[in-house]
């Protein structure tokens, strides 16, 4: 399992658009992807689950990935957030 903390820079946080972009990316990996925030845990492959975390701009989240392609997965997901959800 790999974990990484990262700050969401998008000026609204995890909203419908950003959450679905993240989930779409996460689904492509075999590994399980979880987001930990504010004592809650969300399924990184689910737009609904990500939205209900209530992550706002400048909040710090933890991405936790475990599975066969975990190192590649975490790298792509971190890049997605670092690039402000632009690919």
């Amino acid at each position: 399992m790999i974990e990484k903390q990262i700050i969401i820079k998008d000026n609204v946080g995890f909203h419908a658009r950003t959450a679905s972009l993240f989930a779409k990316k996460a689904v492509a990996f075999e590994s399980d992807v979880a987001i930990l925030f504010n004592g809650k845990k969300g399924n990184g492959k689910s737009t609904l689950s990500l939205m209900t975390l209530g992550v706002k701009s400048q909040d710090e989240i933890t991405i936790s990935v475990s599975g066969s392609d975990e190192s590649f997965a975490i790298e792509s997901l971190v890049t997605l957030i670092e690039n402000n959800f632009k690919e």
Partner: protein
């Protein structure tokens, strides 16, 4: 005035204006959707219930796609994304997995399980301290209703609107709206809701006046009673006396006339008070844009974008696809002069069929014609051939993006001539090679017009890209994008210098970036003698009016 007009009998109700405008007409009450009856019942087979869930989710996806299709001509592509968000929810892995988990644990029927799971999501979203996300709870409630109806085999009664009316509802869902003949909706009043609701966003883009969140007062509105909706003042008037009705009818007529007048005046060329002529053209990228360009009185098409042909395709688009796609758009405005920009995208737009390398710096990378030269046979050649063939049918000129120096220009001219000669050899009758112009968007070109002013037939300033290169600030990066407007003075300086040189050679200069519709710059453009401005079609009537009022 107002104090005199509002006599005792007249009642004014205040709300939130979600979409401006005035409407007068009879009230049509939209009955509240009947509460769903979902009972906790044991199921006989867990597997059957799971199968039913899977097929209900699919059926709901089809229904959403259907709704999207009925709205396709009414809404912009951005607003249509809303339906994609619904689809996303219906495909959500958590929604499905949790519902299945619930069925397996409680051995209950699928509708009950679904209701429990969606309620949890709705509760979580509504308890977030965020109005946008709380509003999404509304979307899930609507989708839950759709799913339960499918599972219980129940049809939601259609709202039959046969004469023009003002809809009054406790709340209105986007799904209900999709089932109504929207041409009969004069306005909308709801008790609940806020500006960020999807329904509010839809009504605004459809131009339907809407007053939302008027609260309990909604019960004062009775079926068929005549009301006035004044969303410019965020209010509605009940029991208006004749005098007030007349006043508002005039006001409404005036608003409609003002806009129609602008469009009407827009049909002819705009000249300044001192008699200088300036063409106002349209930027176009799709059929709807071209229809608007025609309707709003564009003097021509200053920028015809061809990206859609590449981005919408799942394989390298061939000559025939290019031909058909452009033809479908061009035929909406057949007599205009169309300035068609060749391939203009880069590695920031990933294509499935093009194994394009990810670049550190796409704005400065292999984009536009650079990419076209790199993949000449696959990308650029079919486009050039299709456009040359279309130049037999329409008045077309070719605009070359991302030209960095004379060498680039000579290369693309050679390619166009090569394809032209080949087509002639194949027996196509094309009178002549169309005019070939360039985008002035790379500083190396903008700074020294003398270098290729003789070689190109016309010039078009792409002020957005030029600004990003002048300020060394990536326009897609929110952290530095604020630098771009600060390039204005330099842009105007370069445009003036370039235009002087081009005009000596008798070549035309136009502007097609954001700066073209900047009214602050209009007097400078007129002074310099810019030949044409190109902008989104809906801005054309306003700019033409401004030109007519200029000295």
């Amino acid at each position: 005035m107002k104090i005199i007009l509002k006599s005792k009998k007249i009642k004014t109700l205040k709300g939130i204006s979600a979409s401006v405008g005035i409407a007068l007409g009879p009230v049509f009450i939209v009955e509240n959707e009947k509460p769903l009856v979902v009972l906790k019942q044991k199921c006989s087979s867990v597997k059957d219930e799971i199968d039913r869930l899977t097929s209900a989710l699919l059926a709901a996806q089809n229904k959403v796609l259907e709704q999207k299709n009925t709205m396709i001509n009414t809404l912009s592509s951005e607003e249509l994304e809303l339906y994609d968000a619904y689809l996303e929810i219906l495909k959500d892995p958590e929604l499905k997995a949790n519902t299945i988990g619930y069925i397996q644990e409680k051995k209950c029927k699928v509708d009950f399980a679904l209701q429990q799971i969606t309620s949890k999501f709705i509760y979580d979203l509504e308890s977030l301290d965020d109005p946008y996300l709380s509003a999404r709870a509304q979307d899930i409630r609507m989708l839950n209703r759709m799913l339960v109806n499918i599972l219980q085999g129940r049809e939601e009664p259609d709202i039959r609107l046969t004469s023009p009316s003002i809809l009054v509802a406790e709340s209105l869902s986007t799904s209900q709206l999709a089932g109504i003949n929207t041409s009969q909706i004069l306005g909308v009043v709801t008790a609940k809701g806020g500006r960020t609701d999807h329904i509010a966003i839809l009504l605004k883009s459809m131009g339907i006046p809407a007053l939302i969140g008027i609260g309990k007062a909604i019960s004062m509105l009775k079926s068929n009673s005549f009301i006035i909706l004044d969303c410019n003042q965020s209010e509605l008037l009940l029991n208006p006396i004749q005098k007030i009705v007349l006043k508002y009818e005039l006001l409404k007529k005036k608003q409609v006339l003002d806009f129609e007048k602008q469009i009407e005046f827009s049909q002819s060329k705009a000249t300044t008070l001192s008699g200088k002529e300036l063409s106002v053209c349209a930027n176009v990228g799709a059929v709807e844009d071209m229809q608007k360009a025609f309707q709003f009185g564009a003097d021509g098409v200053g920028l015809f974008r061809t990206e859609m042909c590449f981005l919408e395709s799942t394989n390298f688009p061939d000559e025939e696809i290019h031909f058909q796609k452009y033809n479908a758009i061009l035929k909406e405005f057949p007599n205009a002069l169309h300035t068609i920009r060749l391939l203009d995208f880069g590695s920031d737009k990933p294509l499935i069929y093009l194994k394009n390398k990810i670049e550190e710096n796409p704005a400065l990378g292999s984009r536009a014609l650079r990419l076209g030269f790199e993949y000449y046979k696959e990308l650029l050649k079919p486009q050039l051939r299709a456009l040359l063939r279309l130049s037999q049918l329409y008045n077309i000129q070719l605009l070359c993006p991302m030209i960095a120096d004379l060498e680039d220009l000579i290369e693309i001219k050679d390619k166009i001539n090569l394809e032209y000669n080949q087509l002639i050899k194949e027996g196509f009758e094309i009178r002549e090679v169309p005019s070939i112009g360039i985008m002035v968007e790379i500083p190396n070109i903008a700074l020294q017009p003398e270098a290729l002013v003789k070689e190109a037939d016309f010039f078009s300033f792409g002020t957005n890209d030029l600004a990003q290169f002048l300020m060394a600030a990536d326009r897609t990066n929110d952290r530095v994008a604020h630098y771009l407007p600060r390039a204005k003075a330099s842009l105007l300086f370069l445009i003036e210098n370039f235009t002087k040189v081009a005009h000596i050679e008798g070549k035309k200069v136009s502007i097609c970036g954001e700066l073209a519709s900047d009214e602050e710059c209009l007097s400078t453009f007129i002074r310099i003698g810019i030949d044409s401005l190109s902008m989104p079609p809906n801005l054309i009537p306003g700019i033409k009016k401004a030109i007519r009022n200029s000295p």
